[in-house]
């Protein structure tokens, strides 16, 4: 990460360290008093703490966005995944050797069941739509007939919208 491009482009840790002490070099007003009270000294410590954490947080954030960190993250992950894959393969083979089902077999089975379930549900949806369509087609002439009959009969005034809530 370090390079020779001058003072503005120093390595991140040096930058953090310089920033931190730079900000610490400017204590609050209370610290300049001749005889600071305990409250003032507490305030100073809090400020030091704040400055340290802010500088540290900025340093961490910059570092975790750096190519160096991202490359390291990728390499670590690739290695741990490769190890896990090898371990799974070995355990799977051992289980196969013992004629017992491995996790991969159960995963496959779960996946197959899910696909079957999906197909059945899709089919049911399609059937439901068809039935609803047919029902609506039957209902329209029935309702028309009923409305025609109702308009002939004398009825009391209709009720308001019934409460649907339970």
């Amino acid at each position: 990460m370090s390079n020779n491009n001058g003072a503005t482009n120093t390595d991140p840790f040096s930058q953090f360290w310089t920033d931190f002490f730079g900000k610490m070099g400017a204590p609050p007003e209370a610290a300049r008093m001749a005889t600071p009270s305990p409250a003032a000294s507490n305030e100073m410590i809090k400020q030091m703490q704040r400055v340290f954490f802010d500088a540290m947080a900025k340093y961490c954030e910059d570092y975790m966005r750096s190519e160096q960190f991202l490359t390291m993250m990728k390499q670590t992950m690739d290695k741990s995944l490769a190890f896990k894959q090898q371990l799974d393969q070995f355990l799977g083979q051992a289980q196969k050797g013992m004629q017992s089902p491995a996790r991969a077999d159960i995963d496959d089975l779960a996946g197959t069941l899910l696909k079957i379930e999906e197909r059945v549900l899709d089919r049911l949806d399609a059937l439901e739509k068809k039935v609803n369509g047919k029902a609506a087609a039957v209902e329209v002439p029935r309702r028309a007939k009923r409305d025609a009959g109702a308009s002939r009969a004398t009825r009391p005034s209709g009720r308001g919208k019934s409460a649907k809530r339970k």
Binding site: A7, T10, T18, F21, G22, M24, G25, A26, P27, A31, T35, P36, P38, A40, S41, N42, M44, I45, M48, Q49, F53, M56, A57, C60, E61, M64, R65, L70, M73, K74, M77, D78, L81, K84, Q85, D88, R103, I106, D107, A110, G111, L114, L121, A163, K164, R165, K166
Partner: protein, 369 residues
Amino acid sequence: MSTFPQNPFAAFQMPQQAFIPDFEGFRERMAAMPKVMEIASKVRVGATPRDVSYQEDKLKVYHYQSDVPKAHRTPLIMVFALVNRPYILDLLPHKSVVQQFLKAGFDVFMIDWGVPTDNDRHLTLHHYVERYMHNVVNHVREYTGEDQVSLLGYCMGGTMSAMYTSLHPELIKNFILMAAPIDWSDRSSLLCTWSDEKWFDVDKVVDTFGNAPPQWLQGSFALLKPVSNLMEKYIGFYDKMTDEKFLEDFFAMETWVNDNIPIAGETFRQFVKDCFQKNLLVQGKVRLGNKIIKLENITCPVLNLMASGDHLVPCGQSAPFNDLVGSKDRQAINFPAGHIGLSVGTKAQKELWPKVCEWLAKRSDPIED
């Protein structure tokens, strides 16, 4: 040298007592340890009484109870992310979004997706949105006798709710998006950097682990703010460990933070690829089953809640939502809080949620006597 501190020794011009260890304070804190242990062991999350009104596979729908008479007919369904547990919206009585809505006279339901096991690795976003969410919405409609519901989606739950609303706009009366990512062209979040195709092979992770492991997710979230999560938090805890009220809040929050769950593998794969890596949602190219998500199909009133200090979902990922929907009634609130502070923060509880309740009340059907 311009970068050298003007007065590097100023820091050491402090009174001597500043560096004397605070033995009295230490003694007080050690004396409080039994109380700390007691509070830690008694921590209870999920503040509001509730019934399970619907159950399907691992999913549960909670129906919250309240003595406050209902003032609005339109029920509200809260949809949380598939990461962590949904009780953050009802963490403690004084930090509960659920109670805010109950007090305002809403009928509140919440989806708990449950904890996926290895067998659920094949579940995709299509299953979660088009099957589970659709069944929940239909259940709530049937249960309450209402034709439409209001949706509140938090974080990834907001993204999923947006997908659902675009597919079934006729069923949604109002939509509240809460710290939810929609447009990943804003790459300022560290998560976006880490999940970039160049550095992160999601296929390899899902093919190897099945589901996205919870410990790995939790570690990643903690690393997003390492100083705050791994240092400041515990220093703050030491400072305030004699304050019982603080301890109750602290342990409730810690319980939630450490209660991570796996994400179903195929859902994780699709979400990372389509959203984080390819940003397909805003392009109208996300496919759920044989349907394509078009955000312009959303026509109901929309309230977009964003947190200005959100390190997980920067405002730039949520704000474009209001320009992408077809709604005429749309509002956005950018509140000074973090991703979690938006729900449990004291300021949010006092200032934000009453406003949100008011917004929703104006757009929900009232109960007529």
